[in-house]
């Protein structure tokens, strides 16, 4: 029986994601227990049910057809992103939602999946190579199209996720060190420039040396280098031209202490909640930070505090281990499948989830600036839960068909 299951289902991915979802439900229940927001828990429960259906559907989806619809699905999700900009509902300054009765749908969540599928479909063509500038350019376009639309919402967090995913896929696909560096350098220069002139010059110097070490053709290297410097310099002008509240968002991103009533407050409370959990935690529904709602809307971006506070080190470490198992397994799967397409899909989806996990937990532990991205499987949110379920379903599908070319 177990043997049969193992042959047809990826038990590690299935079980770890199932456990994480259960921990998520338990945590959302606790976070909303005394906040007079119990409808949140029931909505999450309903979404979990819907997620299960989506998961099974994706796991049983005809494997060949998946590849065929990859590019059309990507185009369709771009269309949705355009429509949401025109007709969507604005929540806390971002226009990224469709209303469906009392539920809300966020197309950018699903665009993540279709972008991975489209990228995999393109890169797996036998005539495409990441060493060829033209192909590289097109692959970049597949990622940048949804990113540009999402930045217009604006949803900075989701855009960052695409960056992590694209980097991993390109690395996996054999892009040269120089190519990878060219992706990282402008972003690094932009962040450096926001911190000030000295950090910017340091970034420029370090990147300059690294680019030099890749021994790329001088002219090409010079172009990348100049582009990086240009991005860094223009960032300052863009910042100066922004509205004060937009500047404040960036300031808070760089230094949460600059906003003691907002993001800085959340980080402080989050550290107290987790730290006060100790080894064994305060017991379920007994976390004073969680129960007293010191963190606004804790059930979305700061859900990791709940297991941290109420189940202590044991609880938080369990969550970490489950994520580690899931992600390692995703990488293993990517290396085991026979088809190139499946391999790219596996690495892309795994990297997408990994980026979420790294940013979200890093933020809750006060190691990373506050960017609003949910923790997969745990955070409250229908679109996020459904898209995660779909990703797990696709990964299981790839496993089942791992021997197919």
């Amino acid at each position: 029986m177990l043997n049969y299951l193992q042959r047809h289902f990826d038990l590690q991915i299935g079980i770890s994601s199932l456990l994480l979802t259960i921990i998520g439900l338990v945590s959302v229940y606790s976070a909303t227990y005394d906040a007079r927001a119990s409808d949140i828990f029931f909505k999450q429960l309903a979404w979990s049910g819907a997620g299960t259906v989506v998961l099974i559907a994706m796991a049983l989806f005809p494997y060949r057809l998946l590849q065929t619809i990859s590019i059309p699905a990507w185009l369709f999700s771009l269309l949705l992103l355009v429509i949401v900009l025109l007709l969507g509902k604005t929540v806390s300054g971002s226009t990224s939602w469709f209303n469906l009765g009392s539920f809300r749908i966020q197309p950018s969540e699903f665009a993540k999946i279709t972008t991975v599928l489209a990228l995999a479909s393109y890169l797996s063509r036998s005539d495409v190579s990441l060493r060829n500038p033209r192909d590289l350019f097109l692959a970049g376009g597949i990622v940048l199209a949804p990113v540009a639309l999402i930045m217009m919402q604006p949803d900075f967090g989701t855009a960052v996720i695409y960056g992590g995913m694209a980097f991993a896929v390109m690395y996996w696909g054999g892009a040269s060190q120089f190519t990878l560096l060219s992706v990282v350098a402008p972003a690094a220069a932009a962040v450096g420039a926001l911190f000030g002139t000295t950090p910017f010059l340091i970034v420029v110097a370090v990147m300059g040396v690294l680019i030099y070490l890749t021994k790329e053709h001088r002219l090409v290297a010079a172009v990348v280098f100049s582009f990086m410097v240009l991005v860094g310099i223009s960032v300052q002008f863009i910042y100066d031209g922004m509205k004060p509240y937009q500047q404040r968002r960036i300031d808070t991103f760089l230094d949460p202490g600059a906003d003691p009533l907002g993001a800085g407050y959340n980080i402080l409370q989050s550290k107290v909640a987790i730290g006060s959990g100790g080894v064994f935690g305060k017991g379920y529904l007994h976390g004073s930070q969680t129960q007293l709602n010191f963190i606004p809307e804790q059930w979305t971006d700061f859900i990791f505090c709940v297991p941290g506070e109420e189940f202590g080190f044991i609880g938080a470490a369990t969550v970490l281990v489950l994520f580690a198992v899931f992600l390692m397994r995703g990488v293993t799967l990517a290396s085991k499948v026979k088809s190139k397409y499946a391999s790219y899909v596996a690495i892309g989806l795994t990297a997408t989830i990994a980026t979420h996990v790294f940013i979200n937990i890093g933020m809750a532990l006060g190691l990373f600036p506050v960017i609003g991205v949910p923790l997969p499987f745990l955070s409250y949110g229908g679109s996020s839960l459904l898209s995660n379920a779909a990703m797990v379903g696709i990964l299981m599908n790839l496993y089942t068909n791992r021997k197919e070319y």
């Binding site: 007079r36 300054g93 054999g174 808070t252 009533l261 409370q269």
Partner: protein, 616 residues
């Protein structure tokens, strides 16, 4: 994957394992650090207590007038707050009765506050009176969670209203919170019009925060980390205005009972000396909580007291606009100042007759301005052309915003060929439209502010200074003013051209036969031009623009009195009295006496009054 990739894939897989492993080891290490080493410290903060942030409100900046007198001050006021967590909902009815509020209003407020935190006080009613305060105090023990904060409200220390220029503050709306981003929260006060709106960012200051420790029951038990994380509130900046509140109050008294506007500028730098929009309203009505019925009454008042007539009207300027045409005609060389027209009291173009009020006989440019001869300008407009006229109109600041530093302004309307083609189609209008425009009628819209700026340029021989009411930010410690920079530009119009139109304006006031005689001031030469603008909806609007003294102008002024009739008899006297009041002071003596000094700041500030000259 292809076989030859296997080794490479194996290496990459290992690299990714290492990356994932590395991140998780850091996370585990950090968890270990927080939960093993610091768990006592954080535990103490949390097991029994937790941290709460109490916002600290900055003091809104004061406003000083040109002479250093504080005209807008703050007074303490009490605001009732409710902490949702502690509040006993059975007391809702009682609270509502004491504060004369609706129970659903209070319930909604609490619900909105809860969405942020059940432990943050929600503002229920601002500026409660002494009776309400004492009833709450008496029942303190029976009202858990009900408390009050001391806030400040605006206090006006001047006989002038200056309501449209100062503007009011009011509690922020949900929409504004969304638009302005994270800095504002429910219950905050925000500048909504005039200078309060235009300088909101500077006047407001920066909120501070105090971290304190609270126990499980949500009671404050002390500070947090001895205040290391506390952030001091930064008070708002004080504004030093270019306005003279003595003149302002005087101009308001002249406009009492009339509809219209007075705008006076210092021609040397574009500083607003006075800006009246009549009827106005009492700003102190808005300083506390504005009862909705007062809002409704003001909004529905047919006299529209909330409407700033000085910057938002769009009336034709009538004859006051004739100098624009004169300048355009002279500058484009279409006529010389000696060009004459014989006025017989009317002018026929095709089958249409354009009328004049008098028979002026033979007039040249100077006497046409002096006597406001329509026939002269009908013909001059046809000679000059629409686009030449519109070009100089634009140079003089019409059809565009002046860029004044208060929150609201209308650009007006200055038609050109392009505009007329858009509006009527290229064949839909004829030369027959032009004569009316030549005398400032027809499809032409200006604001009194633009007209005052126009008077300033005429006073200055072509120097245009961006009108502004704020001189700069006044330092609280020293009383010195850090002046703000405003734009200036010089029109490319020849000196002889200015000399002609200025002479026409001088004669209009100073010589018999001029239309502006009622603005004459004893002992000083005044230049001015009257206007009587036809108005399809009722009696004519009376206009006057002018400046004084003629040789060394220190005040440029525009007066508009709606539906009053002739500009010469209704607007000119108001302007004359205002200029006299400004130049000679309240006593009417000459030279201007030193102002009575209610506080030492005055002497200091008088020294700093800008000594910029028109300079040519």
């Amino acid at each position: 994957m292809a076989l030859q990739d296997d080794i490479q894939i194996y290496e990459k897989r290992r690299a990714l394992y290492v990356v994932i492993g590395f991140v998780f080891i850091i996370f585990l290490g950090r968890l270990f650090q927080l939960q093993m080493f610091y768990s006592d410290e954080y535990g103490k903060k949390s097991e029994e207590n937790s941290i709460r942030v109490i916002p600290r409100e900055p003091i809104r900046g004061y406003i000083y007038d040109r002479n250093g007198a504080r005209v807008v001050d703050n007074r303490p006021s009490f605001t009732v707050t409710i902490m949702p967590y502690e509040f006993d909902r059975r007391k809702l009815g009682f609270i509502a009765r004491v504060l004369s509020l609706d129970t659903t209003f209070i319930r909604t407020r609490i619900k909105q506050g809860e969405e942020y935190s059940r432990f943050a006080p929600v503002k229920i009613k601002r500026d409660i009176d002494f009776r309400e305060l004492s009833v709450l105090e008496e029942n303190r023990d029976r009202l858990p969670g009900v408390d009050y904060q001391v806030e400040s409200k605006r206090w006006y220390v001047t006989p002038a209203h200056a309501s449209h220029i100062l503007g009011y503050t009011k509690e922020i709306s949900e929409n504004q919170i969304r638009a302005l981003g994270g800095e504002y929260t429910q219950g905050d006060v925000v500048g909504s019009s005039g200078l309060e709106g235009g300088y909101e960012g500077s006047l407001r200051g920066k909120k501070g925060a105090e971290f304190s420790t609270v126990n499980v029951r949500g009671q404050v038990v002390g500070g947090f980390e001895s205040g290391k994380l506390d952030v001091q509130a930064v008070d708002g900046k004080d504004l030093a205005l270019t306005m003279d509140f003595g003149l302002q109050a005087f101009a308001e008294s002249l406009m009492a009972g009339r509809r219209g506007a007075v705008v006076a500028l210092d021609p040397r730098d574009g500083g607003v000396l006075a800006m009246v929009s009549s009827p106005d309203y009492d700003l102190s009505v808005f300083s506390g909580v504005t009862p909705p019925q007062i809002w409704r009454t003001m909004n529905s008042d047919t006299e529209r007291p909330l409407f700033n007539r000085a910057t938002l009207t769009r009336y034709p300027p009538g004859s006051t606009f004739k100098m624009v045409l004169a300048i355009a005609a002279l500058e484009t060389g279409k006529v010389t100042p000696q060009w004459r027209v014989h006025c017989t009291g009317g002018f026929r173009l095709g089958n249409k007759v354009f009328k004049d009020l008098h028979v002026h006989g033979s007039v040249d440019m100077i006497s046409a301005i002096q006597q406001s001869c329509n026939v002269y300008f009908y013909q001059l407009m046809l000679k000059t052309g629409l686009d030449e006229w519109a070009y100089y109109g634009r140079e003089l600041g019409f059809g565009m915003l002046t860029g004044i530093d208060i929150a609201e302004e209308n650009p007006g309307l200055l038609p050109s060929t392009a505009y007329m083609n858009r509006r009527y189609g290229p064949s839909g209008w004829t030369r027959g439209f032009l004569p009316s425009l030549g005398i400032g009628q027809g499809e032409l819209g200006v604001t009194p502010l633009q007209m005052a700026a126009y008077a300033m340029v005429l006073a200055n021989w072509g120097d245009y200074h961006q009108p502004h009411a704020v001189q700069g930010f006044r330092r609280r410690s020293t009383g010195t003013v850090d002046t703000l920079a405003f734009q200036s530009r010089r029109l490319s119009v020849a000196i002889p051209t200015w000399a002609i139109v200025r002479e026409g304006m001088r004669r209009a006031v100073e010589l018999p036969g001029g239309t502006g005689g009622m603005s004459r001031i004893k002992g000083i030469e005044v230049a001015g031009k009257t206007g009587t603008a036809q108005n399809p909806h009722g009696p004519d609007h009376a206009w006057f623009v002018g400046f004084a003294p003629f040789d060394d102008p220190r005040i440029a002024i525009c007066v508009l009195v709606e539906n009053a009739g002739f500009g010469g008899s209704h607007a000119a006297p108001v302007a004359g009295k205002c200029m006299e009041r400004y130049l000679f002071g309240p006593a009417g003596a000459s030279p201007p006496p030193a102002k009575a000094a209610p506080r030492p700041a005055v002497a200091e500030a008088t020294h700093q009054t800008p000594s910029i000259t028109g300079g040519d």
